[in-house]
Symmetry: C2
Subunit: 340 residues, 2 copies
DNA sequence: GCTGGCACTCGGTCCGTGCGAGTGCCAGCC
DNA sequence: GGCTGGCACTCGCACGGACCGAGTGCCAGC
């Protein structure tokens, strides 16, 4: 019906106005700023219906309306066109990310860029180890029985780990060990690494068995450890800007961001296809994020997901712009990492 | 004189009370809570003098007194004994930091520990490259003309960098290159690396010269780059707790913390001897830190400074406790990294 | 089904008042 | 000379009432 259609437009107008002004929006202002072709009184009727349906709410009796989580949800799903980035913005992304010298640098720039574009907190996940393959394994002797295992993946990640061996090791064994490990693992998916270990230990020359076992164990541990999936967080200063939107909840939010696990779960629950996922307010399982929205997307080439990235901000955010920014940055980072 | 002595005690009492209550402290309360042996009236006289000398101030006429930066300075320099940590706290430090598997892990734990102990923002600097020595250099081929240079230092740092070579490289050359680089640099101080390059290029076999030059250049670049000195920041959630102490300045502070350069300068300006340095309010050159104090110290063995660590908090902080915590953690980290 | 009109609600702001903490000063005492 | 109790004074803050205006819901009319 024409009714429903207009009601949705009213909702859209409410979301847009509220996002830009941060004031509960009333029927009169709405009629003035958007030409909906009807009078404030009619809008009031529509608003009453929208409120009954749970899309908007009044903070208190004599105030305007504010979108609810459900209202934002509808807005994101049906009322907003993803806004294409301007040419200038695309250029900015390119300029900002080019010239990065290593993975750490790329992700650091990415997080700063995202934070700047969206003026929100940005979060970028390192390419997951489990989806990466081994490019090279290096073993360096630190002390008699202490080795440093360095793992270099095809996504450019470099992980290190100290291995305590049960016995002292001589330089020659280290060299043999290195060769052995590399011929076994180089090129292999890390996800499959676990399966190769028993075989590798069995076929290793006797004097190396203990070593191979110890080092392999360390390698596997690096994969399953909670620290496996690293996260870069940036733009927390933007939280201060939006502090008004988080009355008294800035602290748990900051805690959640430091507690990487929480955010990790959100960011990694992305569709591998490259669709931007938006989680609004209560949709976020974690309590601290109840008043926040998370916009996230996976990055990597279509056939090969690497990790996720996204932003965290108040539910009262500019979804179309932010979704566009997140998507564009993810694409660019995907290309950048695919070619390295 | 006895006067001066008592006046200092009054100042000490004011600082202590103000730090613990966050209320401007008046003469009456002071007389009640500390047995200074004199009446409120006398204390008032002392306070008038202290105010005239600039050690304390009144927020407004009919309020109690609050220490000024100068007051805190005197307190830190002359009035506070560094409070030894309790046995339980020492145990906690040990327990928290043991079991770290690599440098990244050690520093991550350190920053969390420090943030938790002091309930402030904690900052830890990675061991500076310039003060480290090369333990091993690894060269991995990524594509025809693209190499990945991995630097492993004796402090456990692992740095990576992509090197674009002017020509395609074959696997054999990579191996030769690796051997060459390691025999030249392994064991050398990174600070001296620059000096070795010309010689190395000259003596290299002709077919490797271009490669050696390119890779060496990349190595040197890694050293001088601004990203050279990494920083780990944690406990920013504590800023929310102390937000009242930073009226409206939380944001620039967060920005300064993300802008690692700023904090880096502060943290790295530490005495290499292991003395805790305190910078109070205006003493911090950077504007955003004007309302904050920084407590920092170098870590590493006495003969070998590695980096700095510290905390950032409101000027109204518990200096004795925080100084003790910072010092204790730095010592422990120093030991931990010295033996690895 | 839309519109203008109207009575009503209620949060925010402004202002005046009273209270209490804290001060500075002074005269007196040791 | 220095400490003390007393006292008048200042001033921020919390409380409470009045006012105002934005916004609403409802209703009668078109």
């Amino acid at each position: 019906m024409a009714h429903d259609e207009r009601r949705l437009q009213v909702l859209r107008a409410i979301v847009q106005d509220y996002v830009s002004t941060n004031d509960p929006v009333g029927s009169k202002a709405l009629a003035e700023r958007h030409d909906l072709g009807v009078s404030p009184a009619t809008i009031r009727n529509d608003m009453a219906v929208l409120e009954e349906q749970g899309y908007i709410a009044q903070p208190h009796t004599s105030a305007g309306r504010v979108p609810t989580d459900k209202g934002y949800r509808l807005f994101v799903d049906r009322l907003s066109a993803v806004k294409p980035l301007s040419a200038a913005e695309r250029k900015a992304i390119e300029k900002f990310l080019d010239g990065a010298v290593d993975l750490h640098d790329v992700l650091g720039r990415t997080v700063r860029l995202l934070a700047q574009l969206t003026r929100n907190v940005a979060v970028v996940q390192y390419p997951t180890l489990s989806r990466s393959a081994v490019r090279h394994l290096e073993v360096v002797q630190v002390a008699g029985a202490r080795l440093l295992l360095v793992l270099i993946t095809d996504t450019g990640r470099v992980e290190q780990r100290v291995v305590e061996c049960p016995v002292d090791v001589d330089a020659e064994s280290v060299a043999e060990l290195r060769t052995l490990l590399n011929s076994a693992f180089t090129g292999a998916k890390l996800a499959d690494a676990g399966g190769k270990v028993p075989d590798l230990v069995d076929t290793a020359p006797p004097h190396l068995r203990v070593l191979v076992a110890a080092v392999s164990a360390a390698l596997i541990e690096t994969l399953v450890e909670p620290g496996e999936d690293r996260l870069v967080v940036g733009g927390t200063a933007n939280l201060a800007r939006t502090a008004l939107d988080f009355p008294g909840t800035v602290r748990p939010l900051l805690e959640a961001l430091e507690e990487q696990v929480v955010v990790l779960r959100l960011i990694s629950e992305v569709d591998t296809g490259g669709t931007v996922v938006v989680r609004i307010g209560e949709e976020n399982a974690h309590e601290a994020l109840t008043g926040a929205s998370v916009v996230s997307v996976g990055y990597g080439s279509p056939d090969r997901a690497l990790g996720g990235l996204g932003i965290v901000g108040p539910t009262r955010m500019d979804y179309p712009t932010n979704m566009a920014a997140v998507r564009a940055v993810a694409r660019y980072v995907g290309h950048l990492l695919a070619e390295s």
